[in-house]
């Protein structure tokens, strides 16, 4: 982590990693989609619509994983002042928000045939919607503050406040209303899903995680370069002002 504090070294690593990551992502996505769409049997009750799960569930996992990443990076910004922590958090926010959005949309499309409606105010849906709103707030805060250092620290504080609040929101919403099925994969006592559906699900989850990592590294690279451009522009403006003052 200390060696990577040097942005140039980090960029070199990204340069080397991204082609491999992107390649594995494509292969895993292809395998996962083939397994999910052609190999996995239709559910005895839900029919073909069960295949939405293979996109919906990994997206929902990464929606939460993305926020966890931002929260950990925020600790890095505020406590260890790692120069790349804030870049990592900022780059992860739009990607996490997108996965949250995908989870909401696919869940909505799945809900129509299963529950007969696109949207219900069920606990899971509501807490994911709140998660989406927290992502939007974070992105808005980053965009509202011009100076990257200040924006990064402010967003880090907000991200940690949100991280403390998320479990509370989750429990209060659970208490408020529940229709969504309880967790069936990651639970004590082993998964309750048949292995024929579980394998494609895990392949898709790995593919989505790789996709997240690839996009995240590319977004971090873009953010570092954007900051360099900004710094160059500022020195340029300062030099121009100095030359003008001397003339």
């Amino acid at each position: 982590m200390i060696g990577l504090a040097n942005p140039t070294r980090f960029l070199a690593l990204v340069e080397r990693l991204v082609p491999w990551l992107a390649g594995t992502t494509i292969i895993m996505l292809a395998v996962g989609l083939y397994l999910a769409l052609f190999v996995a049997p239709p559910d005895y009750q839900q029919g073909e619509t069960v295949r939405i799960m293979f996109v919906h569930v990994p997206a929902a996992w990464l929606a939460m994983g993305g926020y966890a990443l931002i929260a950990i990076a925020s600790l890095g910004t505020l406590i260890w002042r790692h120069p790349l922590a804030d870049v990592a958090a900022k780059a992860a926010a739009p990607i996490g928000a997108t996965f949250t959005f995908i989870a909401l949309v696919t869940g909505s499309l799945w809900g129509k045939p299963m529950w007969g409606t696109y949207w219900v105010w069920d606990a899971r849906l509501t807490s994911v919607l709140v998660l989406f709103l927290l992502y939007l707030g974070l992105i808005a805060l980053w965009q509202a503050i011009e100076e990257p250092g200040r924006a990064g620290r402010a967003a880090a504080i907000l991200a940690l406040v949100g991280a403390v609040n998320l479990p509370i929101i989750k429990f209060s919403v659970d208490w408020w209303n529940t229709l969504h099925q309880p967790a069936s994969v990651l639970r004590a006592g082993g998964p309750t899903i048949d292995p024929s559906l579980l394998t494609p699900l895990f392949v898709m989850a790995i593919a989505f995680a790789l996709l997240f990592a690839t996009l995240h590294l590319i977004a971090m690279r873009a953010e570092i370069l954007r900051r360099r451009v900004r710094a160059l522009q500022q020195t340029h403006v300062a030099h121009a002002a100095l030359a003008e003052a001397e003339a």
Binding site: L133, L134, G137, A140, V164, N165
Partner: protein, 222 residues
């Protein structure tokens, strides 16, 4: 402790003398409540059923309206810089200012609540539980608003941004706040559980929010 009391007295005095700062929040509360029957129709049964939710949502919005002021005025005239170097630790300053916001905005809004409930045909018998629930929940509202206010110091359009940042964090307060009032409308259920949850949320906010707000203020002043 003395410094905190002086600061608290100063902030309350400023809020009173600012001319309409409190009145605007109360007026906003009244307007939002008055708009609801116009939008939903004058069916008194429907109104009394949804009154707790409407009263709580409107209260959150009205409280947010003045949330920006918790730090903004002191930030603009430089008193916040002085306060950071004063004898009072910055989290204590933040806590005092949030407390002042609760006393000058939260309490008046709570006291107006039952009267606006009459407009929505909320049974008179629920007034007491409404006031209790709001008294227990509004400290959390003010202290969490303090986080939003400190994060958006000195930004343009900070009012809208505060709402976007803070409203999602109010979800638990809203849920338990409504739950504390609703049972009396739809049937008897324990008032205590939601009331204690609201108190717990408020206590947690009072303890934790000042530290987040202080960190954000320090970041804004840097």
């Amino acid at each position: 402790m003395k410094a905190a009391l002086v600061l608290l007295r100063r902030d309350i005095k400023l809020a009173w003398r600012e001319g309409g700062a409190i009145g605007v929040a109360l007026g906003f509360y009244l307007v939002v409540i008055a708009m609801m029957p116009l939008g939903l129709g004058p069916d008194l049964n429907l109104l009394s059923r949804i009154a707790p939710g409407i009263l709580w949502v409107a209260l959150l919005l009205a409280a947010l309206l003045s949330a920006g002021r918790i730090f903004a005025n002191d930030y603009e005239d430089g008193s916040l810089d002085v306060l950071t170097t004063g004898p009072l630790p910055l989290p204590a300053v933040a806590a005092t200012k949030c407390l002042a916001h609760w006393l000058t905005t939260g309490i008046p809004l709570v006291l107006l609540g039952p009267f606006l409930g009459l407009l929505l045909n909320l049974p008179i018998g629920t007034s007491l539980s409404l006031v209790l629930a709001m008294l227990a929940g509004t400290p959390a509202v003010s202290f969490i608003a303090g986080i939003g206010a400190s994060l958006t110091l000195g930004l343009r359009r900070s009012g809208l941004l505060i709402a976007l940042l803070v409203l999602p964090l109010y979800v638990p307060v809203l849920i338990f706040g409504v739950a504390a009032v609703t049972p009396y409308v739809t049937g008897p259920r324990s008032l205590w559980a939601p009331l204690l949850m609201l108190a717990a949320l408020s206590l947690a906010a009072i303890v934790l929010a000042p530290f987040a707000a202080a960190a954000a203020v320090r970041n804004a002043l840097r």
